[in-house]
């Protein structure tokens, strides 16, 4: 049953007054996959997740989870779902153990099984020996892991994570994603929203939402292939700002064969279908302007390149 559908969004639409937050969004989740819901802040990610959870009634369209219409009978499937919200995860004034016990009991666990699951959650959150600490005293990364552990106490079949790593340092984010992989490997389907591109690369499939619409859907490599044919010439100039300005002017003047020029951190990235020619052109342009540089190379495009292009196409 590898491609059994656990969730289906059918033309989901949500309007708040005149503002359309989510506009005809459709996609489906297969059992056991990690599905990334990617988009900038305000793109409609949280609104979509709330409709999928039955917290918000769609203006049009349907959200089916395990075949149940979430705007009508969400209670039938609640016990099979887990949810870690962006806004709230744990009661900060309660201790690690009190939080876990509350979650476990809410899902009907009791007795020996409750003990086992709570111990397991403490274990995977890496908080053994700190059960009596208030969660307010935990650092952000620990707290997020604990929230995730609390969300899977009842072994949900489908887990919703809304921006689980927002504001968490990169090391903790890595640890967090390792945990997500572990959970998925046990058969839980994971729906995760994020605005971090590097996290999107971790997902098996992705939907990119922009201004309430899905603009790309598929695996990371499919999205890159489909929306971003070509390659990237990347260089690290000594003066990135000036370098990108120079390259962009050349691109707009038609003297640089390229499909776009972006600044990415300290690097200038030039999308191109003819990497060899572009490489030489970049070398000449920077050399001519007397801008020093290093690490000039042709690299495969990243998801970020793809999304920047997708967004640019829509401006």
């Amino acid at each position: 049953m590898a491609d059994e559908t656990v969730l289906e969004a059918l033309e989901l639409t949500k309007r708040f007054g005149k503002f359309t937050a989510v506009d005809g969004v459709s996609f489906s989740l297969r059992r056991g996959e990690i599905f990334g819901f990617l988009g900038p802040n305000g793109a409609g990610k949280t609104t979509t997740i709330r409709m999928l959870l039955g917290l918000l009634k769609p203006t049009a369209g349907r959200a089916l989870v395990f075949g149940v219409d979430m705007s009508k009978a969400a209670h039938k499937v609640r016990a099979r779902l887990g949810y870690m919200s962006q806004k709230f995860s744990l009661y900060r004034d309660l201790t690690v153990e009190q939080n876990l016990r509350f979650y476990a009991r809410a899902y009907g666990l009791s007795g020996k099984r409750l003990q086992e699951r709570v111990r397991y959650a403490v274990e995977i959150a890496g908080l053994r020996g700190r059960e009596g600490e208030r969660t307010a005293t935990l650092a952000g990364g620990w707290r997020q892991r604990l929230a995730l552990a609390a969300g899977i106490l009842h072994e949900p079949e489908l887990l919703f994570l809304d921006e689980p790593t927002a504001g968490v340092d990169p090391v903790s984010r890595r640890a967090f994603w390792n945990l997500i992989y572990e959970i998925a490997s046990r058969g839980t389907t994971v729906f995760v929203t994020t605005h971090y591109m590097d996290e999107a690369e971790h997902c098996e499939r992705l939907a990119f939402i922009y201004h309430g619409r899905i603009v790309a859907l598929g695996s990371p490599s499919e999205i890159k292939r489909e929306h971003l044919p070509g390659e990237v010439v990347q260089v690290t100039p000594d003066d990135p700002e000036t370098a990108v300005k120079l390259l962009r002017e050349a691109y707009e003047a038609g003297t640089l064969a390229a499909r776009g020029v972006n600044l990415h951190g300290a690097q200038a990235r030039v999308l191109t279908d003819e990497p060899e020619r572009t490489l030489v052109a970049v070398e000449e342009l920077l050399g001519g302007a007397g801008i020093g540089y290093s690490d000039l190379d042709v690299v495969p495009p990243s998801l970020e390149d793809a999304f920047i292009k997708l967004v640019r196409d829509r401006l």
Binding site: K57, R78, L81, Y83, Y91, Q98
Partner: protein, 379 residues
């Protein structure tokens, strides 16, 4: 279902347990305030500063002044010049060097008039700023004037006979004119509900502010389970307060429990349930816990005005008296005083129980409606 409800109630108790200051306020604030209010208002009223001007100067008038001096309610000063037209001079202490609460003017010819069996006019001026002392003093002064006047006018009639004819002024439910007897039951009734709606409003508003309410909804809870779970700590704490305060008013302030204690306990519980919806309503219209707590205070202030707690309802304008019937606290204070001090039961109090039931349906119905609407438009 029951397990999930108790789980939420237990969690809310944990929140309170972790917030020690709040817990102390919630548990002991009521009893402490009650004790303070009781002590502040419970002092017996005596030595009310009184100035008497005797324009008559007869033996009869001097004898009457002596009666006033002998009564411990009054601390009498005899003025040797007429009282001024502007009584403020007396009441502010500008004239006789002390700020008086009572000024009595005995007219010329008082003794003769009285002996002739007529009714001479004695004027009693009261400084209403000290309303309580003034009221007490007035009652006492009237009593002295009546008996003394009767003795002089009808010397043959004995005092016992007089009493047989004239209804003696007695204060039935508040024998010692001890104000603590009036204020402390009000305080108990008041705290019962302020604590209950305060906890209910705070606990619900808090979940909504933190976004945890949404988390509860995503769990396998029916929305009503969440609400009932949240009601339990509110009711328990409000009720615990009430029991504590009932103990204080009975054992420390000597307020009697003349009626049925079990009846009172049942009606008090019923009353908390009636008011509970107010707490939830306030939480539902608030975006933060601070807003909710401020609203609770606001509502409490309004209730103080209408409940007959601060001022007797009888002294309000008729329109306000009618409006006051819409406040559950008004009915509960009548029930509370009725059972404690008058010793009456349902046979007398049933209209108020009925009123509470009606108001309870209205309040909790509105709360439920708003709750359901907030679920539908949760954003």
């Amino acid at each position: 279902m029951l397990n999930r409800i108790l789980n939420i109630a237990w969690k809310d108790f944990l929140h309170l347990w972790h917030n020690k200051i709040l817990l102390v306020i919630v548990l002991l604030g009521g009893a402490t305030e009650l004790t303070l209010v009781g002590m502040a208002t419970g002092a017996p009223i005596d030595d009310v500063r009184t100035v008497i001007y005797d324009a008559d100067g007869s033996q009869i008038s001097r004898e009457m002044i002596a009666r006033f001096e002998a009564d411990e309610t009054f601390a009498v000063t005899v003025a040797d010049e007429p009282l001024p037209d502007d009584l403020n001079e007396i009441f502010t202490g500008a004239l006789f060097g002390d700020d008086y609460i009572v000024a009595i003017d005995i007219p010329e010819g008082f003794g003769e008039e009285l002996r002739a069996g007529r009714r001479p006019e004695v004027t009693i001026h009261l400084n209403a700023i000290s309303a309580l002392a003034a009221t007490t003093a007035r009652r006492k002064a009237e009593e002295i004037l009546f008996y003394y006047g009767a003795e002089v006018a009808w010397p043959d009639v004995s005092r016992d006979e007089l009493e047989a004819f004239e209804p003696q002024i007695t204060v039935r439910y508040n024998e010692e004119l001890d104000r603590a007897q009036y204020t402390t039951p009000s305080e108990a009734g008041f705290m019962l509900y302020v604590i209950a709606i305060g906890v209910a409003a705070f606990m619900l508003a808090r979940e909504r502010e933190f976004g945890s309410f949404e988390q509860l909804l995503v769990m396998p809870h029916h929305p009503m389970e969440i609400l009932i779970g949240k009601a339990i700590p509110a009711v328990v704490l409000g009720y615990a307060n009430f029991l504590l305060m009932l103990g204080v008013i009975h054992f420390i302030f000597g307020v009697p429990i003349r009626g049925s204690l079990p009846l009172l306990l049942v009606l008090a519980l019923f009353y908390v349930l009636v008011e509970l919806g107010v707490g939830f309503l306030l939480a539902l219209v608030s975006r933060t816990q601070h807003q909710a707590v401020l609203l609770v205070m606001l509502v409490a202030f309004v209730d103080v005005a209408f409940s007959g707690y601060a001022a007797p309802v009888e002294s309000m304008p008729p329109a306000m008296q009618t409006i006051s019937l819409a406040f559950p606290i008004r009915h509960f204070l009548i029930i509370l005083r009725g059972v404690l001090q008058k010793g009456v039961g349902l046979e007398i109090l049933w209209p108020h129980v009925l009123a509470l039931a009606a108001l309870g349906l209205l309040i909790n119905g509105a709360a439920l409606l708003l709750f359901r609407r907030s679920l539908a438009s949760e954003r």
